[in-house]
């Protein structure tokens, strides 16, 4: 290569890289301005607001919602709230399925919103130590959101425990009305009729009789011995006949979700881990017997939900098993709402009827065990709490605004409906006092885009919900008020994150092994318990007991 050639080469490279730098520089400049605009403008806004008294709207960077979709800032719902409170919202959009990964990167790089939804309560201590969230004084809460605080104190006092850390409140608890209804028990009524059982089974003995007949007496009348009693969704119900179910969701636990098997309950005034209680030994012994007798569908290992939405039970839809569960009353609602023209019942009931048009699915009750215990697992009554970040606390008006919004959501019914269901007259109307949903088919993402379920800050105010979904909750009160088990909430523990995955794996392995193999249940269970205790179970249990007693002040 000649000298001249080298020169041209170098200049070419330089020119190219210059062009590139210029190209992205130009673009980047715009972007940087866009990105940094918000903090500076909010900074000046706060100063000016103090001078000119609310002339300028308060800006809030909002992540107080389940971001299934990105809200359109020009949607009528958002505009309405902005006008009502003289506010300006800047929406953070964090992918809801990779929430933690995505959010952690942004938090770690020093960015933070003003209002933050806490998806996992176990993260509260981490956020505190990173200086992300700020304590909220009880007086401020009571001053600006008295109705909501009263509502919590009267109906869900236990939720405060979940947001306290070292005596201070770090987030506003949010409630889940559905958590007060245990997960359902659904029977194939036509099968029960076909095998000559007229009463919906209530005790373990009656359950066993029904399952045996389902297996042996051809309940679907197709001449083939291809039916079973139960699969994995009904297992927690059976465990519940003996005591707190050691695994509340077999599919979730075997996929590695430790919260489905590492749970706490109270026993003789102490907090104990549920999966290693001696009652479970009895329950597993029974399940082993049932498995040997062929009452349990062998495919329960891979779950009766083989595709689609988690509450779907393909085994039940395909007339393979005669009982299912795990889901909520609204999934299986089998009474049609006369006010909705083409109502087909709950989503899973509808899917069942599409697969088995002449099948009949009815609500049952959890099996009652030899000692009188019974129940299905209940969902957490706590939803994701809402926190205010330390950045937002620089301007006290922001917390005030958030609390006023929460207060408005539980004092003004029509305002609440607008927040959760969209624009009046477009998305919903009131026919007398009956709520009519005009856009019920919106998916979660579409709802978010329209501004639904965004600015209610996750508030779900029971009286309004029961007023809105009157038919459904009347139905729930009729059939869904069965006995249930709800876990004791234990404050955040380091031991939990340290041991829970190992413990979950031990539990899942042991439970599946006992049910499906010939091991002596009693000996194997004892071996599992010893193993479990040695691998952190003991340590976790002690820490939980101590933390719980400190929390309740014993």
């Amino acid at each position: 290569m000649t000298k001249a050639g080298k020169l041209t080469g170098v200049s070419l490279a330089v020119a190219l890289s210059m062009g590139l730098v210029a190209g992205c520089g130009g673009n980047g400049g715009n972007n940087e301005a866009g990105g940094q605009q918000t903090p500076t403008s909010s900074g000046t806004a706060s100063q000016q607001a103090q001078q000119t008294e609310q002339a300028k709207p308060i800006s809030l960077e909002w992540l107080g919602y389940d971001s299934y979709g990105q809200p359109n800032p020009n949607s009528s719902v958002i505009k309405m709230v902005e006008e009502k409170f003289n506010a300006k919202f800047d929406f953070w959009y964090v992918d809801s399925q990779k929430w933690e990964d995505n959010l952690n990167v942004r938090l770690a790089s020093g960015e933070m919103p003003d209002v933050l939804k806490i998806t996992n309560r176990q993260n509260i201590p981490k956020y505190i130590s990173q200086g992300i969230i700020s304590p909220i004084p009880m007086e401020t809460l009571e001053k600006f959101a008295p109705t909501y605080v009263k509502f919590l104190n009267e109906n869900y006092p236990e939720l405060w425990d979940g947001v306290m850390y070292e005596g201070q409140i770090y987030a506003i608890p949010m409630t889940n009305l559905n958590g007060t209804y245990p997960t359902v028990v659904i029977w194939r009524k036509d099968w029960l009729d076909n095998v000559g059982i007229s009463k919906i089974p209530e005790t373990i003995a009656e359950y066993e009789e029904a399952f045996t007949k389902f297996r042996n007496e051809d309940p679907d009348k197709d001449g083939k011995k291809d039916t079973y009693g139960l699969s994995d969704f009904a297992l927690p119900n059976i465990l519940g006949a003996y005591g707190y179910p050691g695994i509340s969701d077999f599919k979730g636990a075997s996929k590695g979700d430790a919260s489905k098997s590492v749970q706490f309950t109270m026993k003789d005034g102490n907090v104990v881990l549920t999966s290693i209680q001696p009652e479970m030994k009895e329950a597993l012994t029974l399940l082993q017997k049932w498995y040997k007798a062929g009452l349990i569908d062998p495919e329960f290992l891979t779950s009766e939900n083989t595709t689609g939405y988690w509450a779907d039970s393909q085994a039940f839809y395909n007339s393979k098993i005669g009982i299912t569960g795990m889901s909520m009353f609204y999934h299986w609602r089998n009474e049609l709402n006369p006010d909705i023209p083409d109502d087909a019942g709950g989503g899973q009931y509808k899917a069942f009827k599409e697969s088995v048009p002449d099948g009949e699915a009815v609500f049952g009750v959890p099996a009652v065990g030899p000692n009188g215990a019974s129940g299905t697992p209940m969902w957490d009554t706590a939803s994701h709490p809402i926190a205010i970040t330390s950045k937002a606390m620089e301007n006290p008006e922001k917390l005030e605004l958030l609390l006023k919004m929460i207060e408005a959501a539980c004092t003004d019914y029509e305002y609440y409906l607008t927040l959760t269901n969209g624009e009046k007259g477009v998305d919903w109307t009131l026919d007398g006092d009956k709520f009519v949903n005009l856009t019920a088919t919106d998916t979660l993402a579409e709802a978010n885009v329209k501004g639904k379920n965004v600015l209610n800050a996750k508030v779900s105010y029971d009286p309004f919900i029961k007023q809105r979904d009157k038919f459904d909750y009347e139905f729930a009160d009729k059939y869904g008020k069965i006995s249930g088990y709800s876990a004791v909430f234990v404050p955040t523990l380091e031991e939990f994150s340290k041991y829970s995955n190992t413990l979950n794996k031990l539990t899942v392995d042991a439970y599946f092994k006992i049910i499906t193999s010939d091991v002596d249940p009693s000996a194997y269970f004892d071996e599992y318990v010893a193993n479990f205790r040695a691998n952190g179970g003991d340590e976790l249990e002690k820490a939980a007991d101590k933390a719980y007693k400190e929390m309740v002040g014993q």
């Binding site: 080298k6 190219l16 940087e32 689609g308 939405y309 019920a440 919900i465 979904d469």
Partner: protein, 292 residues
Amino acid sequence: MTSNRTLSDTLFMGFVYIGLGALSITTLLPLLQAITISLSPPDVVNSYGFHLLPTKLDFSGYERVFQYDIIWTAYGNTIMRTLLGTAITLVLTFLGAYPLSKRTLPNRKLWTGVVVLTMFFSGGMIPSYLLIRNIGIMNSIWALVLPGAVSAFMLLIVRNFIAALPESLEESAKIDGANDIVVLFRIVLPLSLPIIATVGLYSGVSHWNAWFDSMIYIQDEHKQVLQMILRRILLEGQDVSAESGSGVHAQAVNTETVKMAALVVSVLPILCVYPFLQKYFVKGTLMGSIKG
């Protein structure tokens, strides 16, 4: 020799065909299943067994997907990203590889070493995020195409390919009066087309399939790429804990039919392009490996 094949030859070929046949079936069946489900009503989707041929036709899934604005926006973003990203990758990789292939480059070992070094170390997610943010390309297409613009591995493959071209070709061009630029674009470039096709294809496919960077760097839903939106649609409703909110209508999620329809719509274009590009893929991969 073809006339008197031995028995063992025939047997061997038989096994080869059976093996390859089985392999292609294992890749085709899931695709067929996805297509069929995208065309089936829920009761068929929920029934047991394979769904290889549609028994009942139902186009509601596609109807819904075609109304889904965000899918089409994302489609545009992905096409844009793939074209821009591939173009940048090709230009930079080629221009980077050519000098490195020349023995006359001063400190050639050092520069090669610098390139190779990046294959072993990376900045990590949070530093990368900070870098992208501080140079101001956050939330723009540049955050998707620039960080991975040059892959060290690809650069080395191209370098080796160019190094294997006969030196005498360039010399003769020089004798005819060509300067370095002319040599590069009139001699080296045409001869390097197969490797350029390979790099372009690899880069194009990886851009088409990438979603993680989009999730991290793009904070505006309308700038997200197709795979990200697709991923979101596909995973919808599989997790109980997502249902923490109250109300009794929270379960309005997309059905399997819609999910599979979205899947088919997103893989179709690449599926159509692939057969025509595949020969370059095979050719290029071999070139890279044998002479590398």
